[in-house]
Symmetry: C2
Subunit: 190 residues, 2 copies
Amino acid sequence: MTDTRTRILEAAARVFAEKGYHETRMDDIVAASAASKGSLYFHFPNKEEIFFGLIETFIGLLETRLRETLSGEQRGMEQLDTALRESLRLFEQYRALAKIVLIQAVGLGAAFEQRRRAINDRFVTLIRERIEKGIQDGSLPPQNAELSARAWVGALNEILIHWIYTGTPDLQTALPEIKAFLARSVGARQ
Amino acid sequence: MTDTRTRILEAAARVFAEKGYHETRMDDIVAASAASKGSLYFHFPNKEEIFFGLIETFIGLLETRLRETLSGEQRGMEQLDTALRESLRLFEQYRALAKIVLIQAVGLGAAFEQRRRAINDRFVTLIRERIEKGIQDGSLPPQNAELSARAWVGALNEILIHWIYTGTPDLQTALPEIKAFLARSVGARQ
């Protein structure tokens, strides 16, 4: 059973994709979600919050998949392969939405930039912990794990934003090269 | 002799730093630059263009220094060291301005995001050409030079934006680690 909040977000994603963020009114989302107006405003006081709700849902999904992979059975390059493959697949699946989010979110100014910084920091922490584990078990050479993790987040961010705007490179084709770059960068044995 | 355009940009940088971008009026910049109102509007039709002029000046400076280093006598790690050292020094020198630019520019929306994409692409080209040269002369292993270059731009961007916001890590201290990360990532012999 899908809860109302999720139903509203799914409807909002469809309406944003169809009409654009700025042209969308709260009433359009009410109509598309089959939620009551009261229920919509209970969950989201305004359109901006729906927008951030969408971003948070996507980022939450990405984070959950990464945590599952990192706590799973796989090790080393095999784990990196799965983590990257899953993440890129998620971006492919949500490219249309990601494009709307990125292109329209820039108009939201400082509020969006702050969330973007906070999201980057969450992924930096996730990756830093994994690199630290690698240094401890000797599979990675000593390094500034925080710096390497931040560099990974920046590198992937730039590759993905470029892909969202231009469609290139094809992510599944580029996957082995992205993986090789990241592995080399932290000194992993390939 | 400083030309009027440069004088206006220098004055605008001071006024933005003092009053904030949004509080600054064109008249403040006229007063601070000792340029005539007509001259100001001749060079910059509005405040947003002054803002982009500042960004362009900084990026132009960075690009020139990088091109000088890349076309100089140095090779390999020595060249990377100089290029990084010069770039980080430039960011340190202009941190206050960079902070204003980054924090206030997010309010400029899509126009700023487009310029940001274009600037990133310029640096990707610069770095890609250098990596291709390395592949040709055998100092770097075969790789997707475009992808590696984009990953570098993203990595450096994230490290620098984080530094502009938080002041950490100290760039000169982190320089050897940044250099090591970048060198490893493209498979350079250190």
